[in-house]
């Protein structure tokens, strides 16, 4: 794997590329259901969610986490992500606009591997966090 990140010049506080997901829509959830096999009806079946007392369908948490993962692969190069952990705190609804962003919080060398760690999050248009996570990527 080509190493994209330079360990020496990477500093704590560096920002990852920010990615904006405009106008989240129901087809996003349907497409992700097909791609991932996650057919939990909460994410596409309006009749089902209304019967459960929920106003409308909402995103699979892993769809949002997948969008956020692009910050890591754009930053460090695909194949160089060593650890990616997410916690789900709030639903993502149709019509939301999401900002995926992150920053570096530390660096270390372990077994000869130059590792960069940090935090990532997805914020909706109201400024609320929907997913928070942390990561370790490999640098050169």
């Amino acid at each position: 794997m080509g190493l994209k990140l330079n360990y020496e010049t990477t500093k704590v506080g560096d920002a990852l590329p920010t990615i904006t997901i405009e106008n989240v829509a129901r087809p996003d959830f349907v497409r992700y259901a097909g791609a991932s096999g996650d057919f939990v009806p909460l994410h596409y079946d309006q009749t089902f969610v209304e019967a459960a007392g929920i106003p409308t369908v909402f995103a699979q948490g892993m769809w949002t986490a997948g969008c956020l993962g692009r910050c890591l692969t754009d930053y460090a190069g695909p194949g160089n992500v060593r650890r990616y952990r997410v916690r789900f705190s709030r639903q993502v609804w149709p019509g939301d606009t999401l900002t995926c962003r992150g920053k570096v919080t530390g660096k270390s060398i372990k077994d000869g591997d130059k590792l960069v760690e940090g935090e990532v999050e997805v914020i909706n248009q109201k400024g609320e966090a929907t997913v928070k996570g942390n990561f370790v990527v490999l640098a050169g």
Binding site: S36, G66, V86
Partner: protein, 153 residues
């Protein structure tokens, strides 16, 4: 549910997961990731030695299995389940053409007092993946939460 710690350590049947380009492309499109590395084999070969997979791609394996592959703690009420956390530890690159073998096990079960949801039960499931060369490539760790009452928006 009454907490049943005896399920910790229970494993599922090993399952096979071939890493296929069409599925990787479909997944990348679904997460709106336009990186050409997922779509252009020549570029991917030059940069990565093959087409890599997005960091959350292994999640798809959890849904492709029949009942025996993913052990479940008896008594969990699926109507009250939330996906609380997900973690991937990726030890070495996974490329299109690899054939992975996954083994799932229940790593932990515990209870906590929740807020409006009442008492919550947590179940941590780990799937360990090995490639066709016998190398350990990844661990996917899911935390499912059974809330005290039905999930609502």
């Amino acid at each position: 549910m009454a907490i049943d710690k005896s399920v910790v350590g229970k494993t599922g049947k090993p399952f096979t997961m071939p890493i296929e380009w069409s599925k990787v492309r479909e997944f990348a499109r679904a997460i709106r990731d336009p990186n050409p590395i997922w779509f252009e084999p020549e570029l991917a070969k030059k940069e990565c030695g093959g087409i890599p997979v997005p960091p959350t791609f292994l999640q798809v394996a959890a849904f492709w299995q029949d009942g025996g592959a993913i052990p479940m703690a008896g008594g969990f009420d699926m109507r009250r389940i939330l996906h609380g956390e997900q973690e991937f530890e990726l030890y070495r690159p996974i490329l299109v053409g690899d054939v992975l073998t996954g083994v799932a096990r229940i790593a932990d079960v515990y209870e906590r007092e929740g807020g409006r949801g009442g008492k919550m039960t947590f179940m941590v499931t780990e799937i360990e993946y090995t490639n066709q060369k016998g190398e350990k490539v990844a661990v996917a760790r899911s935390t499912l939460i059974e809330t005290g009452q039905a999930v609502s928006g």
